[in-house]
């Protein structure tokens, strides 16, 4: 059993909604509501959900750039949700981030050299020569020509920029990288390329990824364990096999059925399956979501597999699953 690198416990990020005459807080947007996940060393953990499901907020909270409402994030036995603890640990030396929009994540006014060197300068004491060597080496790792050093971000294509983002994230030899939809803004061919670089780096340096995506298809090739998020809460967590072959929550099923298949022979069957899933979702809203439309708390199904269902529903679902097998 692999050792865990980071534990998120009951993480909540709520934003107040102000209204009324005195502008008082009347309600909260529950962007992230009671999320707990554990990521092991060197693994890729997939966090999947639609836009607005709170997956990016979770990622940002883990990196420490999103103030949290409550909960704990444990790294090396320390709760790093306070800036003080993060500083003490040099937390961001070990935990880095790759952003979705490569253009906006690279400062347009800085050279690539300065962009990649920024974390090195902050966390390590290197001479100018050592630093340049290190930056060169990093560019090499992500397959960028060495003359990129003196260029500015807008002189590169989207895929190249994202690789620069990867290089910056790896610069301080981190243990965990939160990758927030790193490929969703890229063309398909370039997506594969960036993913391959990420995989390659993972094997070489034993880095854990929290891979945030809305695309179950992409994550399938990356992650051993997955968590599905919806409306700020987890609906299902489990191993790749659990999620892809034995999904229990309707939301997971819907996401899976939405993966486009190139399977001409079974086209009609697949279509029927999609319609069935949609039908099930439409008919039994109350079964999957409580009266406020929120997701239920997670219940354990087996080993790693947890799903957000009321207890009695869970039993029925299990019986159904077995019957199907």
């Amino acid at each position: 059993m692999a050792k865990e690198i980071i534990q998120v416990k009951n993480l909540k990020v709520h934003y107040p909604i102000r209204s009324g005459f005195w502008n008082r807080v009347t309600d909260y947007v529950r962007a992230v509501d009671d999320v707990s996940i554990t990521i092991n060393e060197g693994e890729t953990y997939g966090l999947i959900g639609e836009s607005g499901s709170g997956k990016s907020t979770t990622g940002k909270a883990i990196v420490g750039v999103e103030p949290i409402t409550s909960g704990q994030i444990i790294y090396q036995g320390v709760n790093i949700t306070t800036a003080k603890n993060r500083r003490k640990l040099n937390y961001n030396k070990d935990v880095q981030m790759i952003f979705q929009d490569s253009m906006s994540s690279l400062n347009p006014r800085k050279r690539i050299e300065d962009i990649i060197a920024e974390p090195i300068r902050n966390f390590e004491n290197l001479t100018t020569d050592q630093e340049r060597e290190r930056v060169q080496e990093l560019l090499d790792i992500v397959g960028m020509p060495s003359d990129s050093l003196y260029k500015y971000p807008h002189e590169f294509s989207g895929g190249q920029r994202q690789r620069i983002g990867v290089a910056r994230a790896v610069a301080t030899n981190p243990r965990l990288i939160v990758a927030d939809e790193p490929t969703s803004a890229l063309d398909l061919s370039v997506q594969a390329q960036v993913l391959n670089f990420m995989k390659h780096i993972q094997q070489q340096y034993d880095i854990a990824y929290l891979f945030i995506s809305h695309d179950l298809g992409v994550v399938k090739h990356m992650s051993e364990n997955l968590a599905i998020m919806h409306r700020g809460r987890l609906v299902e967590i489990g191993s790749r096999d659990d999620i892809y072959n034995h999904p229990m929550h309707i939301y997971t099923k819907r996401l899976l059925s939405a993966i486009p298949l190139v399977d001409v022979e079974h086209r009609e069957e697949n279509k029927k399956h999609r319609q069935e899933v949609e039908q099930e979702f439409q008919n039994d809203q109350s079964k999957w979501y409580d009266d406020k439309g929120r997701v239920y708390p997670l219940q354990q199904v087996s080993g790693k597999h947890w799903v957000a269902l009321p207890k009695d529903e869970l039993k029925q679902e299990e019986i159904k699953e077995k019957g199907r097998d």
């Binding site: 981030m97 920024e118 902050n122 966390f123 895929g159």
Partner: protein, 306 residues
Amino acid sequence: MSEKKENTSAKEAKKKKISSPTSSFKVVVREIVKDKVALTAFIVIVLVLLFTFGGSLFLNAEKVTETNIIDAYYGWGMNGHIFGTDDGGRDILNLLMMGGRNSILIGLGVTAVCEIVGLLVGLVSGYYGGNVDAVIMRIVDFIQVLPAMPIEIVLVSVIPNYNPLSLVGIISLFGWTGTSRYFRAFVLSQRGRDYVLASKTSGSSDFKIMFREVLPNITSMIIIDVVLQIASNIGIETTLSFIGYGLPSTVPSLGTLIGFANDPVNVVSRPWLWLPATVMLLAISLSVNYVGRAFQRAADARQREN
């Protein structure tokens, strides 16, 4: 394969774009040279600067403001005075040089103070947001609804040991608010950008992010604001001097010269007293503002290119 393609396309893109931020200055120069009016305005500014600052080099402040009643009210070109003399026999040409220089210096001084204070306040307010921002903006709101000019006049007349530096301070007291509001709005929009978050995760301090990451992204806005501010601050100084509450009477100013027109006799029969200064102020205001707007257009054009 796609790797190669990317590289060549990047190279092509590079050829087309005048890309790197360091050359933004070149873009501005190109934009101004292309625009004939802006070029003229720029030349006018250079000439005015040469005339006022260059001319003042050869002048002695005490001599210029020395009164000699016998020489009072010479007309155009009389007795070697090209623009004549005023009620104290002072040479208007000399007063014009020194006055122009002083008015420009006050404008520059006020702009420097306002830009620095406004920039700092705008950065802090916009970057931190939340309660810090709310408190600062309430203060800015309040200063902006105060009647600036009456208060400035009162301060000018009650401050002990009043000198040109006090004037800079008094005008700046009200001037920084607009600038800070302008920068705050922009910093606020940058705060949530990924590059700021990336800097945070790279371990950079807030201070470093504000000055090393965000600030370089607003340089073109700063330049535009500085140019327009200079024009408007020269306007404020000359207005105050015009009604007699600007620069002290021993320090020449364009406003004081134009102030001769407050006397109906001067308006009709002694135009040399106030007309040259009026023309010069017109030239300064129009050309500086025009160059400021040309900068603005250049910056907008560059934004479109990117």
